[in-house]
């Protein structure tokens, strides 16, 4: 029978999207860091013994799950074939907003597009076109996003200055703000956490 600490560590590592330092896990679970390290090692061994297709490794100072190196050929096929190889119109619009309005928060992008953009932003981050570039100094300290050198490279641009000028048909700042405001007032506090359930 697995212990509670063991199961809790599995659960937390499963939903984390970056390596978790053992002292963070220790803090959350209210156990000594040494215990966390011990349990993680036991789990890693257990997965190996059970011949699982994933491994628990310590990387960049933290623990995380990743696919077993043996199975890289399958994962590669999945990456190459199983993923759509084009950005959807929605994703392109999101990327365009980040490009032209950076640094910009998720809530701002969401307000402009009128839909939740969490999933799209995550995809763009995974693809290396968008990164976190800082935090809003205001209350809430929202994460701010910007584009990467890879993005410029793929578009054949030297720098952001070379993005095509928006021209005279762009609605003025006040129109954009009114629009953002309107969308926000429709659904204000939930917008950010909207994807988190009913």
């Amino acid at each position: 029978m697995a212990s509670d600490v063991e199961r809790a560590i599995e659960a937390i590592l499963m939903v984390a999207d970056e390596p978790l330092p053992p002292d963070l896990l220790a803090q959350v679970l209210e156990v000594p860091t040494t215990r966390v390290v011990e349990v993680c090692q036991e789990l890693a061994t257990r997965y190996q013994v059970d011949d699982r297709g994933f491994v628990l490794v310590r990387v960049a100072g933290g623990y995380r799950y990743q696919s077993h190196p043996d199975l890289a050929p399958y994962v590669e096929r999945f990456v190459l074939e199983g993923q759509t190889s084009r950005l959807s119109a929605a994703a392109l619009e999101t990327l365009a907003i980040v490009a032209y309005k950076q640094p910009v928060s998720r809530a701002q992008v969401s307000a402009i597009r009128g839909v939740n953009v969490d999933g799209v932003l995550r995809t763009l981050q995974h693809r290396g076109y968008v990164v976190e570039v800082g935090r809003d100094p205001g209350p809430g300290q929202a994460v701010l996003y910007g584009t990467t050198p890879l993005f410029l490279e793929r578009l054949g641009l030297d720098s952001l200055v070379d993005l095509p000028a928006l021209g005279q048909f762009v609605p003025g700042q006040e129109v954009v703000e009114a629009l953002e405001q309107g969308l926000r007032s429709d659904d204000p506090p939930e917008a950010e956490a909207a994807h988190r359930g009913l």
């Binding site: 659960a11 999207d17 799950y65 597009r113 995974h126 762009v170 629009l179 309107g182 359930g197």
Partner: protein, 262 residues
């Protein structure tokens, strides 16, 4: 953005069916005490509490109120022979329609509660969203293939273009300013002078069904306050209204009078 106000913001009742369901089912335990008169009274009282109703909702509330009042009237007014079978049938039809709608509303209310329980259970699990490990990132197809700076600009312009805001076009609705309170005031001014009048004549110049209903509610209000007497020669015949109140200015019990505007 006036259209934003179109959600009913009452704390408890999201609509007229909601309210009616509550009023009827609340009495479930003492079923012999359920009386239509009680429900009509509670319904009208609850309507008074609703401020800032939009026209659609107000109309819906009123139509249901009117149906209830119609049903209630049959008990209030002296029943006699000579029942008009067609009228009788259409009243039962309306009642059954209302019943059917209440049942449907209740069905989805309970379904919604079940969905909420499902969601609450699902919320206890959190999905893995870690995504690709670095070593595979280089393999991922270049999603930006074929995307030119010009296309990016186009996408941005599309994204920030003002979206058409869904707007309820009310231009086709004649401006109505009906409130039961105003109608009561009007009648309290008019009736002492004429003494006796039929409901048909009282509403002869009124084209809108809504306004007729409002006047009807106003008459019932005066009846409740003992200011008029109602007579009906035969069931569903013309109703004659007789003023019982004083002839001078009168103090109406405004507390009881519904005061919203359509």
């Amino acid at each position: 953005m006036t259209t934003m106000a179109y959600e009913v913001a009452t704390p408890v009742f999201a609509g007229p069916f909601d309210l009616l369901l509550h009023l009827i089912l609340r009495e479930e335990v003492e079923i012999w005490e359920v009386s239509l008169a009680g429900i009509v009274d509670a319904y009208l009282a609850e309507m008074q509490r609703l401020e800032q109703l939009d026209l659609d909702v107000a109309t819906e509330f009123l139509l249901i109120a009117a149906t209830l009042v119609e049903l209630k009237t049959r008990r209030l007014l002296p029943g006699s022979d000579g029942i008009d079978v067609d009228e009788e049938l259409s009243l039962w039809e309306e009642r059954d329609l209302l019943l059917a709608r209440l049942l449907e509303c209740k069905t989805f209310k309970d379904a919604a509660a079940a969905l909420l329980r499902l969601a609450a259970a699902a919320e206890r699990s959190h999905p893995r969203r870690a995504g690709m490990e670095e070593r595979f990132l280089a393999l991922t197809p270049d999603l930006l293939e074929g995307v030119t700076p010009e296309r990016l600009r186009g996408a941005f312009l599309r994204a920030i273009a003002p979206k058409p805001v869904p707007r309820v076009d009310l231009d086709h609705v004649a401006p109505l300013r009906v409130s039961v309170g105003d109608a009561v005031d009007e009648l309290a001014d008019e009736l002492p002078r004429v003494g006796r009048i039929t409901f048909r004549r009282l509403t002869a110049g009124v084209a809108q069904r809504l306004e007729v209903i409002v006047r009807f509610l106003a008459v019932l209000e005066l009846f409740k306050q003992g200011l008029v007497d109602l007579h009906q020669g035969q069931r569903f015949g013309d109703i004659s209204i007789v003023w019982l109140g004083p002839t001078g200015a009168i103090a109406l019990d405004r507390e009881l009078v519904d005061s919203y505007e359509g």
